[in-house]
Symmetry: C2
Subunit: 357 residues, 2 copies
Amino acid sequence: MNNVAIFGYGTVGKGVKDLISLNPQFNLVSIFDMPSKKDELGSLLVTKIDEIINNNKIDTVIECLGGDTLAHEVIIKSLSNHKNVITSNKETISLHLKEYLDLANKNNVSIQFEASVGGGIPIIYPLSIQSDFDSINEIIGILNGTTNFILTKMQKEHMPINNAILLAQKLGFAEKDPTSDLEGLDMVRKANILASIVTKKEINNDDIPHFGISKLNDNILKQINDKNLILKMLTRIEFKKDHISILIIPTCLRGDNLLSKIDYETNAISVFGKYQDPLMFVGKGAGKYPTASAILQDLIRVSKNKEYKYCNLKEKAIVKNEFTGTYLCFDDKNKLHELTNPDKKDLSKYKFVCLVD
Amino acid sequence: MNNVAIFGYGTVGKGVKDLISLNPQFNLVSIFDMPSKKDELGSLLVTKIDEIINNNKIDTVIECLGGDTLAHEVIIKSLSNHKNVITSNKETISLHLKEYLDLANKNNVSIQFEASVGGGIPIIYPLSIQSDFDSINEIIGILNGTTNFILTKMQKEHMPINNAILLAQKLGFAEKDPTSDLEGLDMVRKANILASIVTKKEINNDDIPHFGISKLNDNILKQINDKNLILKMLTRIEFKKDHISILIIPTCLRGDNLLSKIDYETNAISVFGKYQDPLMFVGKGAGKYPTASAILQDLIRVSKNKEYKYCNLKEKAIVKNEFTGTYLCFDDKNKLHELTNPDKKDLSKYKFVCLVD
């Protein structure tokens, strides 16, 4: 039950190896990576995925490859070969969750992905338990450390956006090409995963509208801050009777909103249930050990209860957004236009758009 | 596996009944209470505990009696009769956790108590998972909604302490005799439970020093607030190499500390691990549905994995507090004396004592 293999020996894979070595109940059998890692990994290294897939002693694989090509192949083959899979890969989970859950259930194993949303914060598991007995009305969160870091640097330290992006890259928070963070694509995937867990329905990333902060500048931010509002990049999911509203959008918060106090690379998720509202979880959303910690949470859970399953995704969800409320829209000359209950089309005319909470 | 009985049909018991009725996978077989509840409960009511204990169809009992006399008897008899036990009763858990865990393990059943700390906030389970792979260094929390409500009313709305206590009683947050909340005894029990989960050692409530807010007055509070500090009632647990430091004490926080923003009856718990720091959980710490929600979390967990166990408590913990740092001590004339690294004896001379964070 406790023989483990890791696919991918990058930052997260190394963190997982470190934490496993502190837990004698787990036996790390193999790590898949490039032959160049031989000196570092010695006899742990395997360079063909089938050496792990076909090793019947290995019960659980931890996928730390990233992306959706090799990761997808590894996850499918591992589940098919009766191995539990643990992953932090939000891209592949948001694209193929139904396929993975079906395959895991068919083969009586488990697929776990606590680390895919909110880094080390336990959210997927508690949310899956809560949605078993409670009606979840809404989830609002700061789910991207990179954009929160940039917005905090801009608002608390008056750093220009380009410098903040460069600093985030230097500190390892932002990718070389930061578009997926800045334009909200990373949050689309995370929102998809959270909403799937709650509704037990399949969600298409393409159905989720997202507004980014690439075009934000100091002039716009000053106009927002002058209204005593704090700008945060929020992921908003509302669960309605027959559909889900999901919106990834920069949002103006008042200072008495606890989310306005969540700064730098910290993430926070608020869950509003019918019987237990609100719950808020705060922690580091990314990084070597926060991510590895979430993977260890899954590993311990799976080792105690091999058949722990979330659900199957039975149908496709209807995702639509009503764009209700007040939106601050800035044109190419940074001039503010206030729109109430706009059409999505109206919003697309502006350079930068944010919602007023 | 899913036949359930409830002991005690007060506020929490009613909340649990409501939530179970929304979950068709659970079958509520019996509720133990006084004969006077017959009209309300009909054939669900039983008035002798053995009718539940000896009913072999019942797998799991939920103890909502409170106190430590009948609750202790019910828990011991239920575990001995191979039933899982779920309870929100921090008094009996803090007094008898070792006995309960030993008995549960011996009989291959589970004792769960998520609701005993932080109401509906999932903390016991995530903490037990985290302490399996991480070194927990420190836990700091606002674990008592009553005192947080009173301190918020006093500081945000300038309400005198006696009015705030009366209002808390009127709203159902505070007991008729509020001493156990105001003097920190409630938090002693909660700290005991959290520290036991992390260290897997037995802890004596009497070893935990606690300072209360009964003697707080507007004059003292004004002197604290004039220093730009916010007073919060904190539970502080530090895990050292060979001992645990636990201290329940009013604490002066700066405005940039997120705990200073946790207001009214809300609870918050920050966990500082070596590999995952800091994690913060925020939510309603008490009340009908928050407490019932935590009980349902346990019920779902136990129904999915009957043998889920926390640990055994193997030895007695060494609990001692160094009283390091700066303490603001107010004498009978509300005059402030600042003490650094005091003896506990020194602190006992003053009317009101708080720590500066």
